[in-house]
């Protein structure tokens, strides 16, 4: 799965003039992480895409909020991360106990 195919296959990605648009750096990171891990074979792109479609249909929210939720689900389902460690780590960032720059 190449980056090109991954992106070409997706409808609804926020674009401006054909280029992807990220409204905040984390959106770019969420995008890059999903594509990179799929390229490395950590999960099948189709699995991610299916969950993305599911998340988009689930709630009316910004595109990358759905993207992030779908990415998280794939990681948890494949046992790459646990819900507990993700929640704990996110809390550390949210409460500034961990420096967001790394």
């Amino acid at each position: 799965m190449s980056v090109e195919r991954a992106v070409a296959d997706l409808e609804g990605l926020p674009r401006k003039n054909g280029e992807l648009v990220f409204n905040a750096p984390w959106e770019g990171h969420a995008f890059g992480m999903a594509v990179a891990l799929s390229e490395r074979g950590a999960f099948a792109w189709d699995d991610f895409r299916e969950r993305l479609g599911d998340e988009i249909g689930r709630a009316d929210r910004e595109y990358y909020a759905s993207w992030l939720a779908a990415f998280e689900r794939v990681l948890l389902e494949r046992g790459l991360l646990s819900q507990a460690e993700v929640t704990a780590r996110a809390d550390e960032y949210r409460t500034l106990r961990r420096d967001p720059v790394f």
Partner: protein, 216 residues
């Protein structure tokens, strides 16, 4: 541009007190840091992929130039007189190796750009050319049957509109300044730039106001 997940724009402006990341950002950070720690993800991979898409901002430069010209008649005049200088005026680089000429679409006159001999393209303002621009069908037919080519792009021009095709040479590059569509009065440069696609600036499309599409 919307920042509904917390505004981090002024994050460093005030100095010492960093703002807490929003919920989504915190989750993205959590995932990324954990995946990197576990050796599942290479940080460089992510950067590479983002860069591949974010830095190919070519058409955005042209779109900004067009939007400025629509909103500012003095800028438009400077752009038509000396396009490289007008591009640099907006803070972009324009190389000295090729000259740029901006072609103004007017009521009854439509401009279309091609390079029949190779694939000369105003890459400094539009980025790298799409494959169709470099293809034999486009290069062979744009000069001899431009209306048929435009129809394939979904653009049917009135009979009495003059089609002016520009076959670019190696040293001169052309970019089309489309006509500002109705219904965009009072729009900001940023809003206008969003409706100016690369294809509009090659001349195979016209800018469209999103709301007007439904009326098609």
């Amino acid at each position: 541009m919307s920042h509904s997940h917390g505004d981090h724009e002024h994050h460093h402006a005030g100095g010492h007190q960093p703002e807490a990341p929003g919920d989504l950002e915190a989750r993205a950070l959590a995932l990324q840091s954990l995946l990197v720690e576990k050796g599942i993800l290479e940080p460089a991979d992510v950067d590479r992929i983002i860069a591949a898409y974010e830095h190919d901002i070519g058409p955005m430069i042209g779109a900004h130039v067009v939007a400025r010209a629509w909103n500012d008649t003095e800028y438009r005049r400077r752009l038509l007189a000396d396009a490289p200088a007008a591009v640099r005026e907006l803070g972009y680089q324009y190389p000295s190796s090729t000259h740029l000429v901006v072609l103004e679409n007017r009521p009854g006159v439509h401009n279309l750009v091609v390079c029949t001999l190779c694939s000369c393209y105003p890459w400094a303002v539009l980025g790298l050319p799409p494959t169709w621009y470099k293809s034999a069908p486009y290069r062979s037919r744009a000069v001899s049957e431009p209306r048929a080519v435009l129809k394939e792009f979904g653009l049917e021009l009135p009979e009495d509109t003059v089609v002016n095709v520009w076959d670019s040479s190696s040293d001169l590059r052309y970019m089309v300044l489309p006509e500002r569509p109705a219904g965009t009065e009072g729009w900001s440069d940023e809003e206008l730039a969003a409706i100016v696609s690369r294809d509009c600036m090659i001349g195979v499309a016209l800018p469209r106001v999103p709301g007007a599409v439904a009326a098609r």
